[in-house]
């Protein structure tokens, strides 16, 4: 219809015309319909307002000063008069320079041009002219990179580089982690070879038990990594009071369900173990779950996630340093198997909690030795530890079983025989392992001639002597000597009915026995200037 055409044409004009009349231009007039202080050009000010001003903040308003003649509005305050009044003069200012612009036939030269207002007609042309990739209409244009990555991927296994997100069927493998607050965000991708461990809070409630996806096992297994299914390695069930039990059969998928007003089988922790080849392909993925239960009052649960990577055909023995020990990492220790007079290959057990690690007894809150027989803490390099407990001896206790109990308490179930001298010592290198020396001392200074009296061990001190090895600027810690000293004391026979409490202590001390470093310098360069062999040929 013709009306819309006319209005459309009218709308293609640019914005409002700029103000160029110097008498009307006032840059200090900021308040609308109100008088600005010390603004002599403000039209909202009355004569009474002018009488209160002290100066004029804008004394002159001129046009373009490059023109030969231009209009100028001059504002000033006449302070002599009573009351002070504003003087406004409109004059023609002359530019004395011979290069002033007398006339300009190029209209846009002397003022800023108003930009074109976009309408429905010129929008596409303006977008093409001024819009770049940021304003392009198709967001697919910046996905070109990922397309280039997956062209021939369909049948081959995908090769990963360090920290590249692990691709799954729909997007990437997610490891929920806290973002700004401690609430879980599902957008944290798991990077290849990046070992991560995160803890975050998820809001749950018993009513929405089956509906929350993020607490169900299915959510974490479902997104299969490209070409590899995630298998369930183990499932540990944690009860409401914190006790954990390992389930035997781990094939059954346990989904959250309501049982006796509790919501059971909600995921409290997932631990992914990814096996990869040295070409960067993922060949196996396993997940271990910790399932728990919540009751009606619970509004949130804390979930913990971790992911670790193992290269195929290798055993995951964590190193304690490379090559020197790193302070805070556990000391690697092990045994030599029986029946080998000459160890060709010494089998050392990896640093699992079960066997072979150098441990120290853990102090408990009630300091009762017999209750401290359970967990032991591993000895970390560089950390001197003292632990102890109190032993209550009654008359009924016999010497030999008591000695054995105390030895077990002090040394632990399987006290190792050898300690690795470097943090990365391999089991095959015999010379890299230091044997533990055992010493026995007695507490009593006077050597008791009565051998038959009972000697019970009361303290074990492990002294680890280490030295700095290697270059001056990057010294590596190397364990040179480990001595375990057991101190015994005489157990006097108690009269029946009486009991005694003796303290038992265990300590680990790390001593630095490195000799002061001697810098070694290269030999001074010598000038090798010798005459050739046959210089005096005819005469020699």
């Amino acid at each position: 219809p013709p009306e819309t055409h006319a209005t459309a044409r009218a709308r293609t004009r640019s914005g409002p015309a700029p103000v160029t009349d110097v008498a009307k231009l006032c840059i200090c007039d900021l308040l609308v319909a109100q008088c600005d202080v010390n603004c002599c050009c403000d039209p909202d000010c009355s004569a009474a307002d002018f009488s209160l001003f002290t100066t004029c903040s804008v004394p002159i308003v001129t046009g373009d000063s490059r023109l030969c003649t231009q209009k100028a509005a001059i504002y000033s305050l006449d302070v002599e008069a009573n009351p002070p009044e504003r003087i406004f003069k409109l004059i023609d200012q002359v530019n004395p320079s011979v290069f002033c612009i007398h006339a300009a036939n190029y209209k846009q030269a002397l003022s800023f041009s108003s930009p074109e207002l976009p309408t429905s007609e010129n929008f596409d042309q303006l977008l093409e002219q001024f819009g770049s990739a940021t304003f392009s209409a198709e967001p697919d244009s910046w996905n070109m990179n990922t397309d280039a990555q997956n062209p021939s991927d369909a049948n081959e296994t995908y090769r990963y580089e360090y920290a590249v997100p692990i691709q799954t069927v729909d997007a990437f493998l997610r490891l929920p982690s806290p973002v700004v607050s401690s609430w879980c965000s599902d957008a944290n991708p798991a990077g290849f070879l990046v070992n991560q461990a995160t803890k975050c809070t998820r809001s749950v409630s018993v009513e929405k038990c089956g509906n929350i996806q993020a607490v169900s096992m299915l959510f974490y297994i479902n997104s299969g990594i490209l070409a590899v299914n995630i298998t369930v390695q183990s499932v540990v069930v944690q009860s409401l009071n914190g006790m954990r039990t390992l389930l035997n059969g781990s094939d059954v998928l346990r989904l959250p369900m309501i049982l006796d007003e509790l919501c059971v089988n909600i995921v409290l922790g997932v631990s992914y173990h990814i096996t990869y080849t040295d070409a960067g392909e993922i060949i196996e993925a396993a997940a271990s779950f910790v399932l728990g239960a919540i009751n009606k009052e619970a509004l949130s649960v804390q979930q913990s996630f971790e992911i670790s990577f193992t290269q195929v055909n290798t055993k995951p023995v964590p190193l304690s340093g490379n090559p020197g020990y790193v302070v805070g990492l556990p000391i690697r220790a092990g045994f030599r198997p029986q029946g080998y007079p000459f160890p060709v290959e010494i089998l050392f057990a990896p640093n699992t909690n079960k066997y072979g690690q150098l441990t120290i007894l853990q102090s408990t809150s009630n300091q009762d030795c017999l209750a401290a027989q359970g967990p032991r803490t591993p000895i970390l390099f560089g950390y001197n530890v003292v632990a102890g407990c109190k032993l209550r001896i009654t008359a009924a206790m016999k010497c030999q079983p008591l000695t054995q109990t105390l030895l077990d308490l002090l040394k632990g179930q399987s006290f190792p025989e050898y300690v690795a001298s470097f943090g990365n010592s391999q089991a095959q290198d015999v010379l890299d392992w230091v044997p533990i020396t055992h010493l026995r001392t007695s507490e009593q200074r006077i050597y008791n001639t009565f051998q038959s009296s009972c000697q019970i061990p009361v303290s074990l001190e492990i002294e680890v002597k280490w030295t700095k090895y290697g270059s001056l600027v990057n010294p590596q810690a190397r364990i040179v000597n480990v001595t375990a000293t057991t101190t015994t004391t005489v157990l006097k026979q108690l009269p029946p009915g009486r009991e005694r409490t003796i303290p038992i202590t265990s300590s680990v001390v790390f001593t630095d026995i490195s000799s002061p470093a001697e810098p070694g310098y290269k030999a001074w360069p010598t000038i090798n200037a010798k005459l050739p062999f046959d210089f005096f040929f005819p005469f020699v």
């Binding site: 011979v98 002033c100 612009i101 007398h102 006339a103 300009a104 190029y106 030269a109």
Partner: protein, 130 residues
């Protein structure tokens, strides 16, 4: 007899025009640096300046030759070319992209010279014809 004032005027005009050409060229360069001078406006100005220079050389040569050989034909041709030069000078005075005060001054002087020359040429042609 050849008109001596006309010849003097030709000589002075030649020297003045060299100055005018260099000054106008320099001012166009100055305007291009200081003001916003897009290429669509710069090109016609420069082209007309060079055309004016060629016309001027032709005009002065023909006028001088006609005056000295006392022939009216070259002098008449020179008068016709003067009309073209006057139009170009008026362009540089009024229709140029930027007209500076200096432009006004030198173009006014040039136009005055042209006017004086035209009068003297007409007188000389009248003298040669008769």
């Amino acid at each position: 007899l050849s008109s001596v004032p006309l010849q003097i005027l030709f000589y002075v005009n030649g020297i003045y025009y060299i100055f005018y050409f260099l000054a106008t060229l320099a001012m166009i360069v100055y305007k291009g640096e200081v003001f916003s001078y897009p290429d669509d406006f710069l090109a016609p100005d420069l082209a007309l300046l060079f055309i004016m220079a060629i016309l001027e050389v032709l005009r002065l040569y023909l006028g001088s030759k006609g005056n000295l050989t006392e022939e009216e034909a070259p002098l008449g041709l020179s008068l016709v070319i003067t009309v073209g030069s006057v139009i170009l000078s008026v362009y540089f005075l009024v229709w140029q992209t930027y007209v500076l005060k200096a432009d006004v001054i030198i173009n006014a002087v040039l136009l005055f010279t042209y006017g004086l020359e035209s009068v003297l040429k007409v007188v000389a042609i009248a003298a040669f014809v008769s």
